[in-house]
Assembly symmetry: C2
Homo-oligomer: 449 residues x 2
Amino acid sequence: MDIDRTPLLTDLYQLNMLAAYLDHGLTDVAVFELFVRKLPERRGFLMAAGLEQALSYLETCAFSEADVAALRRLGSFPDRLLDYLLGLRFTGDVDALPEGTVFFPDEPILRVIAPLPQAQLVETRLINLVHFETVIASKAARQVLAANGKPLIDFGLRRAHGAEAGILAARASYIAGFAGTATLAAGIEFGIPVKGTMAHSFIQVHDDEAAAFENFARSRPRDLVLLIDTYDTERAARRVAELAHRLAGEGIAVSGVRIDSGDLAETALTVRRIFDDAGLPKIAIVASGGLAEDQLLALRDAPIDSFGVGTSLTTSSDAPALDCAYKLQEYAGIARRKRSQGKATWPGRKQVWRTHHRDGEFAGDAVTLEDERHEGEALLRPAMRAGCRVGRPASLEAIRLHAHDQLVRLPASLRRLEPFVYPVEISEGLRNLAAELDRKERASAVPRP
Amino acid sequence: MDIDRTPLLTDLYQLNMLAAYLDHGLTDVAVFELFVRKLPERRGFLMAAGLEQALSYLETCAFSEADVAALRRLGSFPDRLLDYLLGLRFTGDVDALPEGTVFFPDEPILRVIAPLPQAQLVETRLINLVHFETVIASKAARQVLAANGKPLIDFGLRRAHGAEAGILAARASYIAGFAGTATLAAGIEFGIPVKGTMAHSFIQVHDDEAAAFENFARSRPRDLVLLIDTYDTERAARRVAELAHRLAGEGIAVSGVRIDSGDLAETALTVRRIFDDAGLPKIAIVASGGLAEDQLLALRDAPIDSFGVGTSLTTSSDAPALDCAYKLQEYAGIARRKRSQGKATWPGRKQVWRTHHRDGEFAGDAVTLEDERHEGEALLRPAMRAGCRVGRPASLEAIRLHAHDQLVRLPASLRRLEPFVYPVEISEGLRNLAAELDRKERASAVPRP
């Protein structure tokens, strides 16, 4: 099974519902919207990502004979459903926030308009892709802001949740402004700059740390970064200084050293002084080891030139999931509303509008019905029509520029990662529609038990 | 790119180190061990999982011509390395805790003994697989204990971190005692029981909730579970009761209802009363919606028969990562030790011993050098020799039984998820070896700057 491409990557209940939809002729056009209900603690904004993977999934979603045979072996699906699945292609429309766009709760980030069985079936994998990359881009954007211009590298494949998570975390963090990734497969797949240093094991297999440095330098002289905290960091820094002078004569430059443990600020100061005293001001200091936003903020004044960020990024460790949902907003031309306690939705097809201050900073958003007029910029854009993409996929570099532009325009408190509630207005048209649907639903309680 | 199988799913630095190892003849036998440094907050134990995927990776790890061509295009790798990669197969030994085994910090859960370049290269993906499944099995085990015998179903694919995370989370949670998963692909791939109910959208596309229930019941009468919280839960329960009586005459049984919002305990009581009063004591109540251990413990006395658990399980939301490491413990027959501040390792090849009380409960563990004698059961077992598996893969059902047996033998405080520090002794042999290496390392500081 090609795990990232199989249409079987869905919940059983989707197929159960499809079977019932087909039985009862419920194949009219449905409108679903994907949105986040509320922000995780300590978060002030989110950044949309994953649209490219979502569209690619919709373009290629198809059940093979082998997939259908596997379903048949499970024993419970009617032939009508299995035949339908064999011929299924996604023929619907998608509107979405461009990747890299900052957004807030209650704002749809993706809308699917398609015959009900199609729109229903794709729910699980669409959420799976868009949720994850959005989680990571949102986390990475915070780290980029915290690092205040210093480059960040994704070191987090090993503790990412599986293969796809590792690769897509590299992509999402690059969108949000990371400078590169250590993950080779992501570099090759997406053209992201690949960076790397060395591991402690390299030092340890040598009986002598200085010999380890020299061996590595001679074999991998380009972008040479030596890891200096395996035993005694100060002593290792002095060894690097000695080696740097010796190799300079041969045209090999030590680009930097990496520190991965201890008090990073204090160690960086000491190491910086050792290199400066040795006349080696160009040797950069890379720090890694358990870094997240708080540590990056605390290290702002330390003489550290760049950071490797691992687990906190690729698992979004303080908020590994968002309270998001993909909910039916309209079926057969009629707006729909779920009223479950604490989980009620705004009905109908919507648009998100953003107004700006004169200096370009975001002033506030409004969520309206799609056909309501509102000032500002309409954020949801056509991404797919009748199963075909609208326009060419944006390049990763273009998406990254857009994300950068979004972060620049954030209100200053959000840029500083300080608590700030960004204003999102729910339009009168939307409130009226919701109230009207509630009245109808309550009325329907009368005739039946 | 087959993302879950490509050998490119590794960190750039592994290849940089490999190039240097080959240049300097560092191809002797290396011993790496994978272990967890410390427990996440509020956790008292961990459960090993992911060995099957790790062994499968090692068995099949190979660079194709296309992989090597992709590396060549990156431009920085010497031919010597690329030729080596083309011929590379894993020929080493692996010892590991059987999947489903409970373990504690400092205890190796997997050991690789192989020529250094092989043992180094596989680091990233080995951690990526074993870490993730261990994270999920450990989280799932807590939820199984909290649910106190009531069945749990994995509903978490949509918010799992990508495709592989969703599928492997289903596997790891099934190992730890979950009763099944909603993820079709996991059911088909691993033979895990697949369960599912219906979504709110199914109700919403009908103009009438009662009609929605009846349509679903007629199409999917087997294991019929109806979702009753879309609008007004009590009213929906009464509608289900009416329908259940009507359908009983046709041989269709309503197996259960699902509640996904509101105060689950209170709602379950009300709904239970409605069904009992209607003479329908067999209709079960399934609860879902933001459940984790604390909620499961709080719902112990509620009339809920089973639970759907999503995000908290598949992202291990309170602890999405473990502080684990894959560290060099020996090279060319000599024990090695990293001394980085706060990250020092115990050197050498180790074994983990577990002693039991007379009633079978775990009494305590000891970590020793492999050749030290100790009472109790040796937990690390041969899993691979010279690149070939030892014995047949254990069946998922056998692994699940082993995991169950482990949970039964946990000290009572751990079973109750209460704070408890399980005793893990570090042997004298291990302490002596570490002290000896430290002395040698300090001595080596003298001759060189």
